[in-house]
Symmetry: C2
Subunit: 423 residues, 2 copies
């Protein structure tokens, strides 16, 4: 049997191979906001495909809106059937007429450079976990000293906090440097001003598919079916605001001004070939957090690069991997619902900063510059960085690769604009 | 001039006097979910009133939906005009035909016992502050000892955290006792089980009216125009879960399982007669938090009562007042947006537990029983309470009274159902 080839050209190194087929919301100068799937350098217009009768597993009503919430609300069986329909379209199996019908082809597949992207879902609530042991230890050491770095609860539950959903933005949108209360160690009282410690956080996040009813809990072993797909995330943070405000109720203004996500939701199905064993957990977790016997996570390579205003090309500053995380997505979901908290389709649950053991795998400036004591050198321009400066652009990439199968997340990037303080 | 009388009967002691006219979403066995206004023992059907042409300040489209978000998105001028239209209807000034036309009257005014209430808005994000100095001091003393009770940041900024919007429910809905991780001081490791320290929190909250754009800040002096109206709130809390989980990122599962609000949003206009000076703040706050020269808050009497399964009538356990709060709503709003965080119409910002100085004004069981050391006695049945037991009902009331003008919030109540642990 010959390997099938898609009916549009897909570069060999594309993040958006036929094995991926991620979901996003796009628009063009002539098309209003709608659902799409990325394939190579094209976007498949799902509304058009549905209206042509090519997505027969679901009523075409699901594709008339401008977010994926109604589809997320379905179950894994429905998602698989839709994915299969999409594969058939992309392989030209749906209809013989697709391949030969150039005007239909060009209505279905829109060149990526013609689209602008939007948030793929209405995000009801956003939760951020803190699931990298290395990151929690690093930050704990700097904020509270080595003796109190990792709190006793950390190994027993996936620590998390409720974030701000209104300020989740799509990759590419600029970030205004936030102002707030800052207090130096030597100062008697705080002052108002732009943060001097603006940071990125390398994260990934997943969208909840079908939700759970209020007062209903989902144990980790059953949680996989509630996960729709994953994106890259940058949880922009102001460390000086955070340090002053965070005791006792956690981060607030330090993290509520902007959180960027990549536009394409990679479905869990596309990640299946990249399952790897999850880290061993010791001490043993409570039963509701127990993982399936094939306790697994995904091998997702992650990189972060920085480019200042003066640089012509970005410089890699971090290489990490999603598999480093101690707590799995299923455990995060189980812990989130253990009290009976209801998750809704389109809710976003993020990993927390993903740091590894080695210094070049740390997922924030705070860790990379070790709280300012080891400034980063930008080779091209010989600039130094402790935290982000105005004009700096941070770009996160993520991909899975196994032999010649590649499934990528594209990019999550954003540029820092100068503050505009109240006068 | 004779005082005008409304065209429906309003009992003298009604919370829902002609001076109030609060907004809520109701339905009946024959009417679908729609917008209404409480007056005495009736609900004015705003959709019906608009369709009759009685609410001419706004297009009738605003009243065809089932939440107040589109109206919240307007500004104070529009809210005032609408309120004036509604006053005219209630006084029978809109049309001479109302008073004499019995079938029209009974279409417009629906007896309250026929309606069931729903959340009045789509709540995008929910934020809970911690603005009672007495409460923060009490909890801090019990959680961290008297020496670290009030953190240094507390007097400089209104401490708050992002809450969970999905589990905000309407007064009257039962609360399932949550399960989670608990760890006694003597235990080596946590165990899973139903909370043994289920608590209420006496709070009030306000709905954001028009919002602000991302990266735009609103100083306290300009914040009043962004507040649509207020409700009562009970932020149910599991103290044992909280104690184990809350360091370092704040409360999570301890508070995400249910938050009850009263169904009627009292507009800020209705509260104007009850303005009182706000507490003096020392040290001086930063400029963005500076209050208007008439720095004021509202004199809102608050009570909490408990009724166990065995009791025939509720027992009052707390008398507090909204005016005790150190930080005003305008300051909370200013601090929330100081980083550029965007608020959206329908967002909910809550006060935190409202405790006063005297022991009978403490707004939670944690404080009333002083962490369990002083159990409450339920007089009727001689039961004791440290925290809430299954079958207990907690009811919050709130009202303003000045001479013969009364503006009330009605009730926010909920009953505890037994836990249903994962097996």
């Amino acid at each position: 049997m010959q390997p099938m080839t898609p009916i549009v050209y897909v570069p060999e190194d594309s993040d958006f191979s036929i094995h991926n087929l991620p979901y996003g919301v796009f628009q063009t100068s002539s098309l209003d906001k709608r659902l799409g799937v990325a394939i190579g350098d094209y976007v498949l217009d799902l509304r058009e495909a549905a209206n042509q009768g090519f997505l027969s597993s679901l009523s075409s009503e699901y594709f008339q809106g401008s977010d994926f919430n109604p589809i997320m609300e379905l179950d894994r069986k429905a998602w698989k059937a839709l994915r299969s329909d999409i594969q058939d379209v992309v392989y030209g199996k749906t209809s013989e007429s697709i391949k030969s019908h150039q005007s239909l082809l060009s209505k279905l597949f829109i060149p990526k450079h013609q689209v602008s992207m939007h948030l793929p879902a209405k995000i009801g609530d956003y939760t951020d976990f803190y699931s990298s042991k290395e990151h929690a230890t690093n930050v704990g050491t700097m904020f509270r000293g080595a003796d109190n770095a990792l709190n006793p609860n950390w190994v027993h539950l996936p620590v998390g906090y409720h974030g701000r959903s209104s300020s989740i933005i799509i990759s590419g949108q600029d970030i205004r440097r936030p102002c707030g209360q800052l207090k130096g160690n030597q100062e008697q009282a705080p002052h108002y001003g732009p943060t001097q410690a603006l940071d990125f956080e390398l994260e990934m996040a997943f969208f909840v598919g079908k939700g759970n009813a209020l007062f209903e809990s989902i144990p980790a072993k059953a949680a996989r079916d509630y996960i729709f797909g994953m994106v890259l995330m940058n949880d922009w943070s102001a460390r000086d605001i955070q340090r002053w405000e965070y005791v006792p109720l956690g981060p607030f203004g330090a993290k509520n001004f902007a959180t960027s996500i990549s536009p394409w939701i990679v479905p869990l199905e596309a990640l299946e070939p990249f399952r790897v064993p999850a880290p061993i957990q010791e001490p043993k977790v409570l039963e509701y957090l127990e993982r399936a016997s094939d306790a697994s996570t995904f091998d997702i390579h992650l990189t972060v690069s920085i480019q200042s205003n003066s640089m012509r090309k970005p410089q890699l500053i971090c290489e990490s991997n999603f598999r480093y995380l101690y707590w799995t997505m299923e455990q995060q979901l189980a812990h989130h619902t253990v009290t009976g908290c209801n998750l809704r389709p389109g809710d976003l649950l993020a990993s927390g900063t993903i740091s590894g053991k080695s210094e070049n795998s740390f997922g924030s400036m705070l860790e990379l510059s070790w709280g300012g004591s080891k400034p980063l050198r930008l080779e091209e321009t010989q600039e130094q960085r402790v935290y982000l400066q105005d004009g700096d652009q941070i770009e996160i990439h993520g991909y899975c690769q196994k032999e010649n199968i590649r499934v990528g997340f594209g990019s999550c990037h954003g540029k820092i604009l100068p503050a505009s303080p109240l006068t």
